[in-house]
Amino acid sequence: MTALVPLVVILPLLGAAGALIAGRHTRLQRLVTVAALVAVLAVSVALLIEVDRQGALVMTVGGWEPPFGISLVVDRLSALMLIISAIVLLAVLVFSVGQGMADGDDETPVSIYHPTYMVLAAGVFNAFIAGDLFNLYVGFEILLVASYVLITLGGTGARIRAGVTYIIVSLVSSVLFLAAIALIYGALGTVNIAHISLRMQDLPSDIQLILHVMLLIAFGIKAAVFPLSFWLPDSYPTAPAPVTAVFAGLLTKVGVYAIIRTETILFADSDINEALMVVSLLTMVVGILGAVAQADIKRLLSFTLVSHIGYMIFGIAMGTVAGVGATIFYIVHHITVQTTLFLAAGLVERQGGSTSINRLGGLLRSAPVIAVLFFIPALNLGGIPPFSGFIGKLALFRAGAETPDVLIWVVIAGGTLTSLLTLYALARVWNMAFWRQESEVETYQSSLLDQLSEAPGPAQQQESRNSPALMTWSTAGMVAVTVSLTIFAGPLYGVSARAGENLGNPRTYTSLVFPNVVDESQIDVSEGSGQP
């Protein structure tokens, strides 16, 4: 079964190569990329079933034993992330194929878009299975470079402006990450995550803290955690709709995933949970206040994205098994629901010609299908029972309530407020864009709309375009996935909780990579022991 592990990176890269070779044969390209992602999805399902049965799969690349060779580790957390990102990537790819068929190549030029998209997928999958820090860095770089291309696709003025901010911020975080790897190697002489975890306890606690904070800042920029989240609402909304959807769903979560690994395995002893707790509260509240002030649906959703990262940081900051388990469930919920909302916003933009709630109206009558496709994930994100957003938040709050601590109760209160404000912002979108009559739009007066800020740049009212069936169906498929998260919440929560238990003790992880090793000194690093 370990032979399946590298396939999740190889298949998308082969898909990218195939899409490049297929060149101008648009249909062949689409076929190749969709087939590659379907294959990855099948492999991830097999991995999750296998991993949930036996705990984890470890693949040593080229037969070089760790800590010399690169090890690829798939535990329950990795497998869960692989499967959910494969679903999201596939749905968004189908959405963009539909868009490309309807509009021609303007928004998503197939010859560039498909290969880059597959490289992005390979980077995301690589980050999830990386067993050493440098491989994680390479995974990050693969997905970032692909995202640079996707976010500036077409090279219009607005995208170049947004892209410059995004790219420079990402570069700074990459350089920080690399410098942190250099310092960790200098301090510990290894980059293998399990090996670092074994050796870390020998370091003085102040050096541990420096390394810890450097890694957290690098990952915090990628995950858009509050003081480092300024770039996100500025850069995501300008990209093409499918690109924004996949970025919103996956890229920040890769950062959150890296933070989970940092907190639970690398620096299990070094404790900065209180600082993380404060940061999570600020991320939630500041993010959602930004969302409340926006008139543009895509910008509003970008702010809610930042805000809900706070919930995940909250779960990690608890530092308990239950907290991490609830966070993993919340990540799965948030990836799917945020992507779905952005896809629905893409459909709204086509139907109404705008994404500003000041100019939209009457969509419930003119496009009832889109209304349903927007309404369900909106309620879900706002945390209305019985949807998975409610279950995820409830699980987080219950895990938090186990620890009697004033700070945790403050964050829980902040989280409840954030949830209500999310509902408020999304309900306003519903009222204005869907419920309001189209004839009312011109003369509409409401104190709800007075203080809203529009997207920067000249307002563009486009013609209303019909959405091809493929776009609607892929969005509907994603809505079905979000609903099924509620229906199958029991098994899913079970897997998340078991994944959290895996991470509860770092020794569980290290014993996967170094079976039969209890103590760090048992690892033989002398000459020749790493021969394949």
Partner: protein, 157 residues
């Protein structure tokens, strides 16, 4: 662990100049700043490799204690390749930005401008490059007002 002082100083200077350039407005300088910071990080990796030594090739008679640590060199090679690709992309981006706006700068964020306007109550002239003269006048006014306020405060004291 032993480290070469020269390398440490060079790294520190590269980081300092690189960060300074990254904070500039001109995109070309930002690119140069990125290159400097990336090279400084490569040097950091090399410094972390410990003392220098023979080429890490194990043939007959080479003591393992004499060779240099090869792993950070591999990291540096990977980092150089990534930096190379990213800087090529950045150059294309800068060229595109220059073609679009004829300015080698980070383009103003319209929202930032709006907020600045709201705060200072400045009219649209700042947005319009044709009103350069008025803008200068306006800045003069601002600085004059500032001077006035300062002198006023001094008098109060």
């Amino acid at each position: 662990m032993t480290a070469s002082l020269t390398l440490v100083i060079v790294m520190a200077v590269l980081y300092a100049t690189g960060v300074y350039l990254l904070l500039e407005r001109s995109l070309t300088r930002v690119l140069l700043g990125f290159l400097l910071v990336a090279n400084a990080t490569s040097l950091l990796l090399l410094i972390m490799a410990g003392p220098d030594g023979l080429a890490p090739v194990l043939d007959n008679g080479t003591e393992i204690s004499q060779i240099a640590d090869p792993l950070p060199q591999v990291f540096v090679l990977t980092a150089i390749v990534i930096t190379f690709g990213v800087s090529a992309f950045l150059m294309a981006l800068i060229y595109r930005s220059w073609r679009l706006s004829k300015a080698d700068e980070v383009i103003d964020d319209a929202e930032d401008l709006a907020i600045a306007q709201r705060d200072a109550n400045v009219e649209a002239e700042l947005l319009d490059p044709d009103h350069q003269d008025q803008e200068v006048d306006h800045l003069d006014e601002l600085s004059a007002a500032h001077d006035l306020a300062e002198t006023g405060e001094e008098e109060k004291q």
